[in-house]
């Protein structure tokens, strides 16, 4: 059996600042919206994937929603887990192991910090490979900052070019009423902000949000019954690199350099065929390096590549059209939000932020600190 697979429904919770919801509640709210949009009911769901929530993910949240799935995934490799689980789900549907798979995420990272349920910096532990970094306080931000510094050193990339990525995200967020931060910013605003992990100022780093998102994948047999326009999975790829920064060979090359070419090859497309991109931007350097890894420009060229406003709505390569993790929503893992925005763009239902005539999208999630990557190519045909 080999069936084509479509994204049939997507949903977001009431995201952004603290709405007093629980992560489970936000996940379920997004799920109800996604399933309703697909014209389906809970009884239609035979597969379920979720991660980063619960003791035995994804069962805790499946139980909360009254689901007893017979296909499961809980890939736990950071924010890219969602592109990777979507690929696994597409394979499972293609092979007939499931017909309808729901992927759902929820997090209250923002209100948890305010309510002192978590720390700002995360504790990764001190056992096994983590014992080699425990003494040195390599914060998540510093890891991305170190990659940015190396890229600047090797290729002459400037802080202004990196800042343009944050400015572009905010520019796009202005057209998204659901975005958390919509006030326009300038490169000077970014560079004059408080330093978090040199060379990164605060606006080079993502927001901290509460958020939920959900996506429903279905077999082609179901597509005729759908109320919404199907968006097809054309190809996907996944890869892992390192967890210890010491085991990363080249800080200017991320794991999308493997997942990206695999996804494009399997889709039979090239970066030149892509109309709109949703690429994980927890930090400006994450997007910068991933653009090169995916092949949208050559290695070392992303600084000048983004500097002309190319990533903005109306630019040559509209990217993170909802405002991304830098301006729209970043609740801890953003991977699923990338798929939601890509589907909405390809359906042509994005209102003032719609990329005219978008028929192909590249979605690429990065997990951890360039530890993992999942890339998925979507299309309207």
């Amino acid at each position: 059996m080999s069936r084509r697979v479509a994204l049939a429904g997507v949903g977001l919770a009431d995201n952004g600042k603290d709405h007093g919801q629980t992560p489970y509640g936000m996940l379920a709210q997004a799920s109800r919206r996604a399933v309703a949009e697909a014209g389906l009911t809970p009884a239609d769901i035979d597969g379920f994937g979720s991660t980063a929530l619960g003791t035995l993910a994804p069962i805790d949240v499946a139980e909360y929603m009254g689901l007893r799935p017979r296909w499961l995934d809980s890939t736990a490799v950071g924010g890219s887990s969602w592109e990777i689980m979507a690929a696994h789900a597409a394979d499972a549907i293609s092979q007939g192991r499931a017909d309808v798979i729901l992927l759902a995420y929820g997090s209250t990272a923002r209100s948890d910090l305010r309510n002192k349920l978590r720390t700002g910096s995360l504790d990764w532990g001190s056992r096994g490979p983590m014992q080699w970094e425990a003494p040195y306080g390599h914060s998540l931000m510093s890891k991305y900052a170190m990659a940015a510094r190396r890229h600047m050193f090797e290729y002459g990339t400037t802080l202004e070019q990196l800042a343009e990525i944050a400015v572009s995200a905010r520019f796009n967020a202005a057209e998204n009423p659901q975005a958390q931060e919509r006030t326009p910013i300038t490169i000077d605003d970014v560079l004059s902000g408080p330093m978090i992990a040199d060379p990164f100022q605060k606006l080079q780093c993502c927001l901290r949000s509460d958020g939920g998102a959900a996506v429903v994948l279905v077999a082609e047999d179901r597509v005729a019954d759908l109320p919404s326009k199907p968006v097809w999975v054309l190809g996907s790829g996944e890869s892992s690199s390192h967890v210890s920064m010491s085991q990363w060979e080249d800080f200017t090359v991320g794991p999308a350099s493997v997942s990206g070419p695999l996804a494009f090859q399997r889709a039979g497309l090239t970066p030149a065929d892509i109309d709109v991109c949703q690429i994980y931007d927890a930090f400006t350097s994450m997007l910068l390096i991933t653009l090169e890894d995916l092949g949208f420009c050559g290695k070392g060229e992303a600084g000048p590549f983004v500097a002309d406003g190319r990533l903005r709505l109306g630019g040559a390569l509209p990217t993170n059209t909802d405002g991304g993790g830098l301006s729209a929503c970043h609740p801890g893992q953003r991977g699923l939000f990338l798929l939601v925005e890509a589907v909405r763009q390809l359906r042509g239902e994005s209102g003032p932020r719609q990329v005219a005539g978008a028929e192909t999208a590249c979605v690429s999630g990065t997990g951890g600190w360039f530890c993992s990557s999942g890339t998925m190519i979507l299309g309207t045909r």
Binding site: G128, P135, H138, S142, M146, R150, A197, S246, F251
Partner: protein
């Protein structure tokens, strides 16, 4: 009596890594070198991550390294790092080949440049543990 605040900078010393931490306490940086393929590796494992040989004797590193990249950290709310801000997180390439995560110290007045020569310096973490950090090897460039 109040219990001390949890601190996040102490490695969990394990049987397979105890020689490394014991040596660090004595001011020596250890690697393991594969007798089969000849490559040194860090962090140390009881086998070679390149060829999976189990013949990987310990070897003392020179402590000389080059700065691969760094970041000065201005935000970290985990003790004891929250009391040290700003401090410098770094990744260095050891003369013997392997790369390691570390911190830079004694950098006052030094214009930090990627590629610059560094030397190991061992700092106590608590009464029983010490860890290798690196400082600029000024005037001792060994290129």
């Amino acid at each position: 009596m109040t219990s001390p605040a949890k601190r996040f900078d102490l490695p969990t010393v394990e049987l397979e890594t105890k020689p490394y931490w014991d040596a660090a306490k004595e001011g020596r940086l250890l690697l393991r070198r594969c007798a089969s393929c000849g490559r040194a590796h860090a962090y140390p494992r009881p086998f070679c991550p390149h060829c999976w040989s189990e013949d990987v004797p310990w070897e003392q590193a020179s402590g000389r390294a080059r700065l691969y990249t760094y970041s000065t950290v201005f935000f970290n709310d985990l003790p004891p790092f929250n009391e040290r801000l700003p401090y410098i997180a770094a990744v260095v390439d050891l003369e013997e080949g392997p790369r390691m995560m570390t911190g830079l110290v004694e950098t006052e007045g030094v214009d930090l440049q990627l590629g610059m020569a560094l030397e190991a310096v061992f700092l106590p973490l608590d009464d029983t543990l010490a860890a290798p950090f690196f400082r600029p090897a000024l005037g001792k460039d060994t290129t």
